[in-house]
């Protein structure tokens, strides 16, 4: 079953197109990482996905229902950690828990209290007085205590230190292991997401330029070093550069046969790429 279906969504702000005809599907139980450089349109797509703005074209459905029309009902099944912590600054942490407990039918006060305690946050603290990391932790605790079927994380680690990032991802991973929820995440923290994401999408200038399972990406994208020139490479090269007297290239359609041919001629070596390297290969080109 599909948790998220984005069909030809276009989002515009005046004359500027932020998201341009994006379509993607996230199956139930998947962890989908949406990557992109700053200004690529990730947050706009997330806002459309959560029913915060109506796309100019296209449609977003969550669990088969139009999110723009049925947002209030769908939000019972969705937990959200926003890019900017948006809870009212005057509210105390425990009041945020009370407020959410009144709104969600699946609210788990115990889960919320345990996480807040684990994060070491005093429940009497005002939200506005918390550090950036603590705010994200409270937001995550609120989102997870609703026992969501879909967790949407919009750049949750932005501005957090390494420890806070690790703690945040550990919570998500634990919840995923417990309940098998669907996760849609936008992040710049490619190292951390690589271990949990199973689908990856890359937005570039509002267009979805890559959308496939992470394993397939790893199969497809390889770094090849060989004694020869790029013209001898019988595969698509996302980038190439001189490597000593030879060439180093990142190919986007690695094929065993073609590589064996190349190795026979040029003593070529192939290595897998990290998600970060794949992302740079796809989206790293400077915008003109």
């Amino acid at each position: 079953m599909t948790a998220i279906a984005v069909e030809g969504v276009t989002v515009r702000y005046g004359r500027r197109t932020a998201v341009d005809g994006v379509s993607l599907n996230v199956p139930t139980g998947a962890v989908y990482a949406l990557l992109g450089r700053n200004g690529a349109g990730k947050s706009s797509l997330v806002r459309a996905l959560l029913g915060h703005l109506a796309p100019e074209l296209g449609k977003v459905t969550l669990f088969g229902e139009d999110v723009w029309r049925h947002r209030a009902r769908l939000m019972q099944r969705v937990g959200v950690v926003a890019e900017d912590s948006d809870a009212p600054t005057e509210m105390r942490v425990r009041d945020l828990g009370w407020f959410s407990s009144e709104l969600y039918s699946n609210w788990s006060q115990r889960a919320f209290d345990m996480r807040i305690e684990r994060f070491g946050i005093a429940s009497a603290s005002r939200f506005g007085d918390l550090s950036k990391g603590q705010k994200k932790q409270v937001s995550l605790a609120l989102a997870l205590a609703t026992s969501p079927e879909l967790l949407v994380l919009d750049d949750p680690t932005l501005g957090l230190d390494v420890v806070a990032r690790k703690s945040l991802f550990e919570e998500v991973i634990a919840d995923m292991a417990d309940r098998g929820i669907t996760v849609f995440i936008t992040t710049h923290d490619l190292g951390a997401i690589e271990s949990i994401a199973d689908h990856v999408g890359v937005l570039k200038d509002g267009k979805l330029v890559l959308d496939e399972p992470l394993e397939a990406l790893r199969e497809r994208f390889r770094r090849i070093r060989f004694a020869g020139t790029a013209t001898e490479l019988a595969m698509n090269a996302a980038s190439s550069r001189a490597w000593g007297s030879g060439t180093e290239a990142v190919v986007t359609n690695f094929a065993d046969d073609a590589f064996e041919n190349l190795r026979a001629r040029t003593s070529a070596e192939a290595s897998t790429l990290t998600l970060e390297e794949i992302f740079i290969a796809v989206a790293g080109e400077e915008r003109k």
């Binding site: 703005l53 926003a82 948006d86 809870a87 005057e90 009144e102 969600y104």
Partner: protein, 608 residues
Amino acid sequence: MKTTMIIAAREVREKARLFLACAGLSLVPFAATLLPGARGQSGDVLAVVGGFLAAILGFGIAVALGGSTIVRDLAERRMSFYFTKPVSAPAIWIGKATAGILVSLACFAIIAVPSALVARKAWAIQWLGDTEPLVIAAFTIVVLFFLSHTMSTIIRSRSPLLALDFLFSIVAVAAVCLIVRPLVIGLATDLAEMLLRAIGVAVVIVLALAPVWQLANGRSDIRRSHAALMRFLWPSIAIVLLIAGGTVAWLIRVSPTDIVVSHVAQPRHGTSVIVTGRAQRAADYHATFVIDRATGRSTRIGTPPWWGSQFSDDGRVHVWLQPVGFFSLEGLELHTMQGATGIVMSPSASFVLSSDGSRVAITNGMLLTVHELATGKLLASGAGLDASSRHQIFFLTPDVVRVFEYQRRLNAPTPLRIFELDVRARSIRKTGERMFEMTQQAVSVSGDGARMFIRGSNVIADGRTGETIAEIKTENLSSSRMLFDGRVALVTHDGLVPHLRIYDRDGAPRRDVAFPKVRSVGIVGETENGKLILASYTARTTFVVDPTSGVIEQTLEGVKGPMPQWSADPRLMRYAADQEFVGVNTSGKLVAWKNEGRASARPLLLSR
């Protein structure tokens, strides 16, 4: 409903500190009673300070909360907190607005109640004579909250659409002025007030509902939110104004048969009559028509006659004043049946038509001008009048205009100045001045202009110089008129019975006619064959009296009319001997009667 209450409860909880602050401020009125000047008046001080402080803070908090409750969250990108929760847009708005309004009302009450409890009597006198001030305060708080939200959304979005909002606001205000204008011109002050209240309530309802649309369609983005607000607000206001405009158009569309006539005026000769009345379906709205009794043809004119309406002696020329300017009363323009004359004067100006209807004289500030009516051409003018004084004018001859000028000082000695403008010589000069005690309409003049009766001083004086010719000893004067031949007719009250007293040209008493069946009468006309017409408005009875013999020749019960004309011009209340008079019966319908000894009136076909 539950989510609405949860959101409202959260908002109230967040603003609970305001209650503490207001509780502290509620002591201010008590502190004010300790001021040296407040000793002995502590009740009044408590009531006044408590009331004003409560109002200022209540209104201020309503503005502050209205402008921040939603818009601050939108501007600071915090609205997503609510939109990521399972709550609908109406629940967010209703919850937050309910909380904001309740907090504002509670703050008002927290400050007001302690002083009101301690100084109950003073509060009752100062504020609670009836419950209206409290209702108005509560309504104001609600209006300010909604208005503040809308204004704040528009301003804080920093959207280019702001220019459109500004434009639409101007258009809306202009439309309201245009809608109300015909009612104001028709003296429908009650109806205009009712309409403005209805428009106000409708706009408040629109302001209360628009944010639901705003949040449902604009959601967490302030610019989209602003655009969504506009999409609801302005079309809704346009619909309200269209309905109001349509209602007014329907209300003011009346025919002569729809009105309850309150005023009629007619010329010396001819069959024209000007009729004003309240439209039966339109509360206090008045419509005015010029009706030709010979043909039955009626023409609607855009003014009530008491702004100024006159006929020529033959009834062929009729002039009246109509307001100039769409949004305010910038001036009055003379109109004839042929259209606007282009002759404009200020609302405080006076005008008079010459007996042949060819010229019009106007006192406008310091100026006296004479125009040719057909072309609007200025024939002569003279300066030197006192703009702050009142002026009575008339054409002594087609080429000479006489002006009586006096201050509006009731029952106190004031100078009466007499001027004449010679149209041929184009010169104005003061011909006389005297002191007199002004009462109401000061001066009435004989047909030749040689004599005048000055009411208040009760003297017969030279019409040109103001010099006293004779003094009339009288008391309890209620109506006066110098007759065309120079005799004087006065109405006095001896006890409860009005008397018509006739004096000859030298002030000697000649006749005394009592009207024992009515409590008051006034002189409303004089016929060319020397009969006087008097009317009792309280008893709605019209009398025809022969002033020479002192005999009441006719008594028409249930008929009012003709009407008096407040002018010094001796021709204006003079009617042909065979003129058929038009009056109003007790049902407000037009009737006609003749001065020929038959004491009856027949209904006019037009007003059935």
